[in-house]
Amino acid sequence: MRKINFLIVLALLGAITLTSCGRKKTETVENKNTIKLITPLDPPDTKDAVNGDWVVKHEMADAEKLMPTVTNDATAAEIDDLIYDGLLIVNRETYQIEPLIAKELPVISDDHMSYTFTLKENVTFSDGTPLTGEDVIFTIKSIKIPFVDAQALRNYFDDVKSAELVDGNKYKVKINMSKPYFKTIYTLGETKITPKKILDPQNVTDKFTWEMIAEAAANPDPKKYPDMGKFADFMNSQDVARTAKYVVGTGPYKFESWKTGQSITLTRNENYWNKANVPNYPNKVVYKVIQDQNAAIVAAKNKEVDYMFAINPADFYQNVTNPEQFNLKKAIVLEPTYVFIAWNNAKPLFKDKKVRWALTYAINRQDIIDKILFSAAVPIESPVFYKSKYVNDKLPHIDYNLEKSKQLLDEAGWKDSDGDGIRDKIVDGKKMDFKFTFMNNNNPKRKKVMLIVIEGLKQIGIQADLQEYEWSVFLDKQKKHEYDAGYGAWQLSVTPEDPYQIWHSSQAEGEGSNYISYKNPEADKILEENRITFDETKRKELLDKWQQIIYDDQPVTFMWTETSRYFYSDRFRNTRWYAYPASGLVNEWWTPTAKQRYQ
């Protein structure tokens, strides 16, 4: 009997040891898998490349306007990338800014108040008209005119004071700023240049001086500036936004047709000026709108679409396990975004740093990544893209640790004094329970994540609920800081980041994006300095210090950087997956003649 007991104990012990060992093992393996899962950037494959075929890309929503000046939706921005060019372009492999329409990088004055661009002389719009400095000036002017629906873009151009040709040279433009800012070169460089000859044949905009535009912007009343109003009405009109007559750029593709709510078709720009460097192999690129996720996945299986993005993790990993069967391939791309749990720092519950640290300790991030995201995400500790050279990689990883969490809550004075299982504390003379509500935007994936977080918090005596809101209500509540906590995600860029908009105290009031009401004067100072720092080493130092402060304050719990998931047809070659922007560049894709599907 004793022997049997002993054996049972031994077996149990063995089992526990084995499971714990096994668990550790799988964890590390899974972490490695995550890295392996990410589709590498293949070397170019353009030998024997031929023109022809179409790429039919899935879009979840129709575009609104294709005129880049007045566009602010993601679908249109992506399409415009193929129709228009900017003065400069961010290299998709090195993330360095390089000349495109401009001959070289701009000459920047010592005080960073003026940027002089020299343009290439062989750049033509798809209708054959050459691009000159006049088009650049016109584009900036049309953005600055306050009645034009360029509000999304105009914020970037707040600091632009004026633009002029240098000594009347049509290919030399000088842009003057009202204050120095390190991202100006990106703003000016990446703006899509529109043709003046087509959009302003009467040269109406020449009459508007920069002073006039600034005046109108300070007090936007179209009655006072009837000509500007008239020009704006034209720019805002549907003709300009939707007809091939006006949607004309210098890019590798031309706008062909728009079937409202169904599809937008581009054709190859045969006269493309930059063919030697930027290919345009497919005859057509069709953006096909399919709103329903299930329908879109079936459409991909049926070969009705060739390229699909934004796929639910569950659909991607479980629903389509063998894509080869449908002549599809999968790509998993690590894009510069990050996910966090936002704690509204203005609420008494989350005011104390210790509490926020306790909350972070109580969230088992790796477990959520494994369960909900099929291990395809990387836990992070900082709001800077973890692949960027500006990330502070010295910040120690915060492990899931309930004991530390409980201890910190005790230290912060949150104890279960009445024995109801929920921690409480006397705040402003009143007993307060540690209860709050997470806000979500009807997104089932986010909901799953938050339900696991809620379960975890229960174990340390915190009770949280979940409340779902429709997206615009969600945004409204977030903006007005009317929430306790919620799921958040920010999309970053690959170029040096300016965290000011999200993290500076001034942005916690009014219309700013500091939705979590985070305030730290020391951090503010660094962010202010960062904006006028032009030296990369200095910026790295500043951002490292700033990330350390954020880490110490834990205003939010940083969760992970997620991967984006794509399906694409296996008939394409040279499909290269970049981190940003627009992961696959369809103009580079080509199809061997035998495999071409469309004529």
Binding site: N236, Q238, A295, W471, S472, V473, L475, P499, Q501, Y598
Partner: protein
């Protein structure tokens, strides 16, 4: 009769006004800000840079431009005034005239609904008659159960199921998944184009019809049952008329009356149903437009669409009343003095 119709039409005016007032208020008082949506804040992941910032001046300018700075009642009168002149305003989102956006899409929704409408009556009425005349037979029981099952299936679920199982190379691929046309539509010949469009509409129309289809056939059955118990039917049978004649000539006409009542509500209900169907099948009709407009807080479009649906409802009710008098002469419009 004419007098009655005029009276009814006059009565519509206050009805429609009340409907518009209520929808206008609900629309404006719901949380969410169209100027916010104007900034393109529609993606799941927000951009971290300045792009989503809108300064106060710009916001004020748009509130003014859209007339949102005025008191609610003034906004309503302006809307009403413009509407009476046939101007529903411009979409907040892309500046296109609302009328144009709706006119571009309404043939699709209306076409789908009219086909579905005929389909429903063409199939549901005979089934109802069959069930009623063969009450408690095996056929009746089977159709009863089948109809109840169909009636209780939500159409968004049915739509998704149809896409996953009937449009999928993995299971059965008969129909295209979504949209109105195939990718290579422009290169097809005349007949092939027609066939292509027809194939795209089969599933949405069936899914759109199924719920109403079951409903109408059930109503038809019970109304027919009620009629064939009447004395005059017994008399007709006693006269030695064939069963066929009794049912189709004497009973049918009277049993159609309650079905007609449903007709009034069916059209607007189906237009409402196409909100979901069009979204699932990515069909660019007014339903899809409305769904998107609601998410975007695009008030001019929401108002125009709600007005359209209420107008349809009211017209539907009028049509029913007129049809009543044709089917059942007992319903008199003019009180004739004896």
């Amino acid at each position: 009769m004419t007098q009655y119709v005029i009276k009814r039409i006059l009565l519509f005016i206050p009805t429609l006004i009340i409907i518009t007032i209520i929808t206008f208020c609900v629309c404006r008082l719901a949380p969410g800000d169209p100027t916010e949506m104007k900034m393109g804040n529609t993606g799941e992941t927000q951009k971290s840079d300045a792009k989503n910032q809108i300064n106060e001046t710009t916001k004020k300018y748009y509130r003014q431009k859209f007339g949102l700075d005025k008191p609610l009642y003034q906004q309503y009168f302006i809307w009403m005034g413009n509407m009476l002149q046939g101007d529903f305003g411009n979409s907040f989102k892309d500046n296109r005239p609302v009328i144009e956006k709706i006119v571009e899409r309404i043939p699709i929704t209306l076409g789908m609904n009219i086909v579905s409408f005929f389909l429903i009556y063409l199939i549901a009425v005979p089934i109802g008659i069959y069930s009623a005349t063969k009450q408690y037979s095996l056929g009746d029981r089977v159709t009863t159960i089948l109809m109840f099952i169909l009636y209780s299936l939500p159409n968004f679920w049915l739509g998704t199921l149809a896409i996953v199982f009937l449009c999928n190379v993995e299971y059965i691929k008969i129909f295209p998944t979504s949209g109105m046309t195939s990718n290579n539509y422009d290169q097809l010949s005349g007949i092939a184009k027609l066939w292509d469009v027809a194939m795209h509409f089969v599933l949405p129309i069936i899914v759109l019809s199924i719920g109403s289809f079951a409903f109408i056939s059930r109503q038809m059955r019970s109304s027919m049952l009620e009629v064939i118990r009447q004395d005059y039917i017994r008399t007709a049978r006693a006269k030695g008329l064939s069963e066929r004649k009794v049912i189709l000539k004497h009973a049918l006409r009277n049993s159609l009356i309650p079905i007609l009542t449903l007709l009034g509500g069916l059209l607007p209900a189906m237009v409402g149903g196409s909100f979901i169907i069009e979204t699932i099948f990515s069909i660019p009709g007014v339903g899809q437009l409305a769904t998107q407009a609601i998410f975007d807080r695009d008030y001019p479009i929401i108002m125009a669409e709600l007005f359209l649906v209420s107008f349809l409802t009211v017209i539907g009710i009028l049509l029913v009343d007129i049809l009543y008098s044709i089917v059942d002469p007992r319903i008199a419009f003019n009180q004739k003095s004896a």
